[in-house]
Symmetry: D2
Subunit: 457 residues, 4 copies
Amino acid sequence: MPEVPKDGSQLWSKGGALDPAIHAFTVGEDYLTDLALVPHDCVASAAHARMLSRAGLLDPKDADALVAALGELREEALAGRFAILPEQEDAHTALEAALVARVGDAGKRIHLGRSRNDQVITALRLLMRERLADLAGRAADLAGAFLAFAQAHAHEAMPGYTHLRPAMPSSFGQWAAAFAEGLLEGLADARALDAKLDRCPLGAAAGFGVPLPIDRELTASLLGFSGVQRNPIDVQNSRGRHELALVQWIGQLALVLEKFLWDVALYSTPEFGYLDVPEAFTTGSSIMPQKRNPDVVELARATCRSLRGAAHTVEQLAGGMPSNYHRDFQLLKKPLLGALGDAAAWLSILQALVPALQVNAERAREACGDELYAAHAAFLLVKEGWTFRDAYREVAAELAAKAFHPDRAALKSTHTGGTANLALDAAAAELAAHRAWIDGRKAAQASTVHALLETTP
Amino acid sequence: MPEVPKDGSQLWSKGGALDPAIHAFTVGEDYLTDLALVPHDCVASAAHARMLSRAGLLDPKDADALVAALGELREEALAGRFAILPEQEDAHTALEAALVARVGDAGKRIHLGRSRNDQVITALRLLMRERLADLAGRAADLAGAFLAFAQAHAHEAMPGYTHLRPAMPSSFGQWAAAFAEGLLEGLADARALDAKLDRCPLGAAAGFGVPLPIDRELTASLLGFSGVQRNPIDVQNSRGRHELALVQWIGQLALVLEKFLWDVALYSTPEFGYLDVPEAFTTGSSIMPQKRNPDVVELARATCRSLRGAAHTVEQLAGGMPSNYHRDFQLLKKPLLGALGDAAAWLSILQALVPALQVNAERAREACGDELYAAHAAFLLVKEGWTFRDAYREVAAELAAKAFHPDRAALKSTHTGGTANLALDAAAAELAAHRAWIDGRKAAQASTVHALLETTP
Amino acid sequence: MPEVPKDGSQLWSKGGALDPAIHAFTVGEDYLTDLALVPHDCVASAAHARMLSRAGLLDPKDADALVAALGELREEALAGRFAILPEQEDAHTALEAALVARVGDAGKRIHLGRSRNDQVITALRLLMRERLADLAGRAADLAGAFLAFAQAHAHEAMPGYTHLRPAMPSSFGQWAAAFAEGLLEGLADARALDAKLDRCPLGAAAGFGVPLPIDRELTASLLGFSGVQRNPIDVQNSRGRHELALVQWIGQLALVLEKFLWDVALYSTPEFGYLDVPEAFTTGSSIMPQKRNPDVVELARATCRSLRGAAHTVEQLAGGMPSNYHRDFQLLKKPLLGALGDAAAWLSILQALVPALQVNAERAREACGDELYAAHAAFLLVKEGWTFRDAYREVAAELAAKAFHPDRAALKSTHTGGTANLALDAAAAELAAHRAWIDGRKAAQASTVHALLETTP
Amino acid sequence: MPEVPKDGSQLWSKGGALDPAIHAFTVGEDYLTDLALVPHDCVASAAHARMLSRAGLLDPKDADALVAALGELREEALAGRFAILPEQEDAHTALEAALVARVGDAGKRIHLGRSRNDQVITALRLLMRERLADLAGRAADLAGAFLAFAQAHAHEAMPGYTHLRPAMPSSFGQWAAAFAEGLLEGLADARALDAKLDRCPLGAAAGFGVPLPIDRELTASLLGFSGVQRNPIDVQNSRGRHELALVQWIGQLALVLEKFLWDVALYSTPEFGYLDVPEAFTTGSSIMPQKRNPDVVELARATCRSLRGAAHTVEQLAGGMPSNYHRDFQLLKKPLLGALGDAAAWLSILQALVPALQVNAERAREACGDELYAAHAAFLLVKEGWTFRDAYREVAAELAAKAFHPDRAALKSTHTGGTANLALDAAAAELAAHRAWIDGRKAAQASTVHALLETTP
């Protein structure tokens, strides 16, 4: 349990004492989770200081001192050398205390024209945009891995299943390309989500603005936003809504990848036997010497589900409230940061897994029995003039009589996406475009930080 | 319980009999819910017939007959004159039966090169895009209603709350504009979501393509899609993923509007008293003659929560499965269509409610006590050279001594979004752009249908 | 859209007119879903009338007339001959109108000392207890089917899987008995849940009681409750809480049965091949003549997930509110009744499926390779004095050298629950005790109705 | 990232090397979360050792040595002096390593006849039963606090609300007693839940039993279970199902307490003003000197929602899988332990809050206007012979004419639960019975540990 501050070190302290248990309950784990916010709070605070200075609300020398100190503090935070004391409650209090310690009274001037409410939203929004670009980069790498796998195994047949029953001829290439296409959809979504987050909340203060001539457009621009989230009440109301959108975006990736992981779990059973999970991705049993269990696959699959659980927690916290700030929203930070961290680790491990999967091409080819070609054969009859329904019944009769011998060579799907035309080039081109966007975002984020903290304005 | 077909009328029938209870369980309510799909299935089937004809897989005369019949059937379905018999199981079987009844053998040729799996996904995707445009239109109208309300009450003060405690001066205009801005964000999301859905699944067949020279690009174009969802496995895997994205989009609107509805429920209590819900939106009590209960507000608020529940059902069904089609996905249709219908009714009733709300301007103005200006006053001291922390403590002391008398006239927020600068014009401009997009989508959808069904190709 | 009442027929009407769209939105589908409540409302109303009469608040002749009419109306409702007009909003208004039509002014006296708020909770609680007993009965029958299956296949070996990899010897009997034991746990839970619901809410009125000498203990007793839910505010606050408990109870059954259904889906693939789903439980493909798809299994599995979705909707509506009644709770009825109906159909179809499953005993026996006995063999070495860790490594070495030849006869699990000691008798005894409880509940419910409605008091 | 073990220290190691990233992903945070399991694993392991010894599978001296060491290790774990190394993966590996270090080869013999699969379930079940008793104790204390509050304020009037509108006369006593009654229901549920968990899983091994003459009834008895969870597959299948039941039980408490917290948040606004949250439970604003925010109330309210989120995560992980063990279940531990810890802190803070709440009796009394007595007055007319509907319309007319002057003294609710008859004694008696059960459980748990670890058998 954190120590209780004795001397009123909270931003709002008027000198009363706090009960330790109550203090511990209100602070929760913020003094730990908030560490992730500090670098972003430094950046946002620097923009705020520059704006105050240009608006005549802060002495330019104070602004210079503050920005210099914020640059140092950000470096320290990134290096793990910045601590938030439990009695400081949160990142914002700790940061202001650190500024006062370094630059004296100027530190006390940084909070003019803002509130912790818009301060935390701004830091979170910067964090969310940074993490979104990072996760999108990982998803792009993973999509690339699927495309490479599809290319390498484009012509290796495997049964296509419906209802978990062998249905039609497919291929390892067609299978892997499916996940690439699903991820490409997620990457397009990422760009839309970034646009949704691309409005600066700073200046909303406690949710109703401030009676000072602050320049919200300037801070927005300094922080790399295309525009301002104008309405201060909507700024507060978007707390939770944006977190949910981000975690649900991860959830869409999880819907794509959960199917891949389930497929691997199935196809690597001895009964299916189309894939081998390399030993490095398995563990053993404490009592069964013969076992190699695909633990990585299972844990990654379970992560898809736990990420949905995290989204539900965020949703629970985001909903059910009147407008404006409520302390309830403090609890949003932990599931958000947890989900972001889990998603990053999960995408990385999948990126290692995909190229390591071993294909048992022969076993899969042998599993492609004649009956998989039944629908194809019916289609051929149609080309000869049969109606489809009659052709369907004819082939069914041949199958029943064990007199069905399809000509496999004639049964190739050459349309877009068919086994003989996977259209991997088109997917690669889309991926390249997404990568360019991701690289652009990362560069822009870096240059925003550099312009604010490492050069004089 | 539906009748069991005696004569093998299912598309897949090979002549065996079905147990009635089992048939009833497998059909479920599909023969009712599928009615919503019929018009879209007619359109998609017409595009499929045209494509087959151009690819040499269907006689042009057959294609003409099919398209003509599909045009009639669509009209009948829209007029409520098309029925799906329980023994027909679903819309697709019923449609094929109706075609055979009208155009004979040509009706049996329509199913060449497709499966019910891609047929239902295509109909659903057309339906989802149509409903998305419709819901976006309703959300735009509602945003307009909020902007009009904000304009009308831009200068009427009300307390701004944080933690449900009076915090700072705000206004009815600032309050209403918040919901407009939230909805504008949702409208931008709608455009991204439509882009996500803007890929044609037709041609994926059962999930692995077909060995026929079908032209997927052509059907995509005829159906108004910008492109093809290339990978057939991803087509099947997107079942549920897309439904979820749509219902979660509605959920984002619900997060915006739930706060509005909660605010109205609170602000219209006698204790707050800032708003009156007009009598037409209230009902009475069966035992308390004095009551006028804001039932519409409460039901609309609860709808925000039940829409989240529907999204959870869709999510449950979308997740947890290996790749490809499983019959589990049949259950997706009911929660999807339920949520779409509920959302439309809910947006309409809100559109009626917003302009009808009555503002008690005087009561709200009186509730804006001097203490709301405390932070503002502290900011003013800062402009005179105090540090913010010292100013904060000074005002706190004045408040404690009941010696705090702020100059309200001097305490106006003029920055973007402040009570003296709501920036409604910028919101109106964004809204107009979204409306143009919505109108464009609706026109494009209508013209796609017209080109396919009401003109000769 | 329902017609608007012209003449103020609502219980609370004071004569004003209603907007049709608003009326439609507030009524929702209540006039349909409430039909399920009518029989229970008749019973509860009869108890209320008897109590009023004994308390001197209603003329005994009026009570007799009311009870007689309620008996008739209940019969009509059960026979599907009772309709709720949309303008009547709900079951309670319709019932009072029907009573006035039959017994004149006495009908207007029935609502003394109650409110629709406690009226609906009482009807719902009676409904929930009745449905719980019914569902428990179905679950008991299903448990019986699993036990019979386990008995019949007690000695037929099949591989036991962990991580979806063959792990140890098991049997069809051990497999089926698992679901029986899971359901027995659910049946014990049912009894606890019934005890939770076994408190009568009638008399809470709008949530604060009434200033009349009503006898809540008497109505509780007449309605078959062991006691009174004393606090009227808790009565209102339990709205949603109880519905959730019931749907989550179904969810616990679903967690048991989902695993069974997943197993069947897997074990009936050609790749595993341990089970055949009989043709009556399968359907075909519209384009693949060779397919027999286990649709019933898949739909039943998906129902497990949609039932969880329904619980989430109930939870969304139950949570997030201050005390007392809010109209939000109206929306609880639809997901509750939907889940109850779905659960009944789902348990029935499973009861038909279990005995119909066909076991491929030979295929399963052949799949039990020597390596499944590896852990068992290691245990034997331990009995000879090895440490388990050393034995484990020894067997691993033998396996690697393909020199592992276990003595299967010596490797039987005879402890409770082991393949050689399934303890089916103990399960059957538990089941019999649960059945006795269920039968007792059903008999008590029937006799409560009979005593109230079919005999003179 | 944890270090990779170089020397094959995992229970299943056969000597190969592990990739560090893969190892880190598979271990996750188990080496931290598992610390909570260690004391319970020590107890379960001691019972296992005693059973092996009595069954002739372990030398009695080895058993003595193991039990002695387990007693020490349990003490060390409780004192925070037991560490799990990342390379040890989990509690079970670490415990076995510690045993080998202390008692040599005997340590290698402890794993005979069990698997980590039943080992972890047994430890979890002991933990769950212990925590359930602890949480029930806290809930009982809280129920006691509500009863004391109700007693102290039994006769202080406050308006009763429906639809957030003043409806009928109520009292602070009636209000507080509602939460006591809701918690009593939860305590009864706790007893049923403990019965559900009261079956010993040990001996299920990997899910199919072991070919050794283990005595499952003995271990069950030594561990304080009433019986054995017989079927080993059901043991594995209950993983997640039981965790969910426990977290959903907490969720039922949260549904009760969320309403209390929402009420406090509302009733302590200046607009309602019926309650004051003492300063110790509030915090200030960083920019608004006048604010005292009820942060503790808001955080406790949000905890109700985040606990539901945790249940969703558990549910996601528990569902959607075939029978038997999958590594997916590893992820269950973190949300379970998180929810248990959060629930304990939350119940404690509420226990402090309830007696500290300050009642503004006069303000509340003044808020009870004549109109609250309208329904009551209508009831009186009925006693004089009016029908209720006519009386309702008469009072409505008087109200409209401002001619309604009720006789408050005549309008008292004396039935069970009414404001004049809160029946607190009955609640106190139920509470005492629950406390006795809780004390009994705690004593039984302590004596089980004592018998196993601190005495010779």
